[in-house]
Amino acid sequence: MMSRYSIDRWSSRAVLAFGITSFVVLVVIAAFIFRESLPALQEVGLFKILFGTEWYPRYDKFGILTMVVGSIAVTIVSLGIAIPLSLGAAVLLAEVAPQPVRKVVRPAVELLVGIPSVVFGLVGMVALAPFIADISGKGSGSSVLAASIVLAVMVLPTITSISEDAIRALPPTYKEGALALGATHWQTIWRVLVPSARRGIMAGAILGTGRAIGETMAMVMVIGNSPIFPTGLFSTARTLTGNIAVEIAAAVGIHQSVLYVTGLVLFVLVMIINSASLLAYKRRAD
């Protein structure tokens, strides 16, 4: 018969083991990506890959700068669409909506997270892209704009729910004080609540950025995958994730290794974004 103390001891060891496992997985993945990248880093060189602007593996051209720019462009445009929408939804859910409305809208927003990205991609490809082709009057509609809109819908729930929590977590005295001073509800929301919750909102936006930059399947289906610098909203482009997804199945040798370098660059980008998010959270706690 185990004493309850030994159960206590063993359970904390088990939890520790689980915790360490996830850390080890991270290290193993990082090491694996790095090892697979080595041949390309040695033969082509990081500088040539990172700052090269031409991608044509058949003729040994392995520059991924266009895709770094593509990924960043799509992320920025999609956040430009998603942040105002999410902030509006968060204010609605936290302050404005009556209970019945909240009961319907909130689960609806959360359900968006559960829709597989390939479904978003499909809708983007068959419904959104032809629509954009009509507006722009040329091409097939595969574009930075189509990709950004699809992505905006995908990151919407993340930013909305974190922003809503941030607004709800404010001490009630903020709102009460503002109203007591004669501010209207709207003034209270816009001048007091939203600015006070800005760190939480920013953390949500940064988490959304992390999701946006890592999104793959939906991007491959609507962005056209052209390895060029996007020249505008209606231009096609290629993302880092898309580069790996489209080509890895057929890649051999150095080409394959360069795709791992693409992964490495993506890994570092996401690490930077996540660290920024952690920092934003920490400063909020202080």
Partner: protein, 259 residues
Amino acid sequence: MSKKIMIVVLTMVALSAMLVAGCSGTSSITIGGSTTVQPLSEAWTETFTASSDVEISVQGGGSSAGVKGAAEGTLDIGSASREMKSSEEDEYPSLIVHHVAADGVAVVVHPSNDVSDLTLEEIRDIFAAGSNDEWTVINREEGSGTREVYEDIVMDGVEVAPNAEFLPSNGACKEKVANTENAIGYISLGYVDESVKAIKVDGVVCSEDNVRNGSYPVMRYLNYITDGEPEGIVKEYIDYCLSSDGQQIAADEGYIKLN
């Protein structure tokens, strides 16, 4: 409590026993690689498995994945819509290539497009210039066997402009061309249907006869690749594909019989 556990354990033992028995009763092989060969493999598999006790699963992945899979043993048969590259022959010397059918690569445009006849040079120029107000150029991903053949024969060393759209399969390419009025792309003859218009190349229609007699320029062999000489079920299957029945199926699917 312990009774419940017993039941669970017994069920698991019984299930795994059935699984083992299932495996030894029927044999199974896996074919994968080129998306051009995939529909053909599926058609052959359907009739082949109807008359024998074999399970065959057919996958896509691209020609290079087919070569790699066959070499690494993850596929019993790799499929490729191109010949092996010299780098692949060096890396995997034990692989054997079997021609199982031939195929034309059709240059396709939207059905509403007036263009119906281009020379090889004109097509090359369009692809080299890339997407503009006149054309939306649809290319395939690096490593596609169809693209490999297309670049060898049509592009002849000239690069396809990077602002073309890159799509990862014959099906996706056809869909895009079918839905975009000024699109031009290329797909396997087996995929051509009324949703797109195959144009004449140098005045020659992309048809079975013209590919077989060599007058249509953009053609290639479709290949099965095995690690060493095929044996057992794999050999039976490949022999079936090469039989007159098998070749007739290839023709019915829109590919081209060997001689």
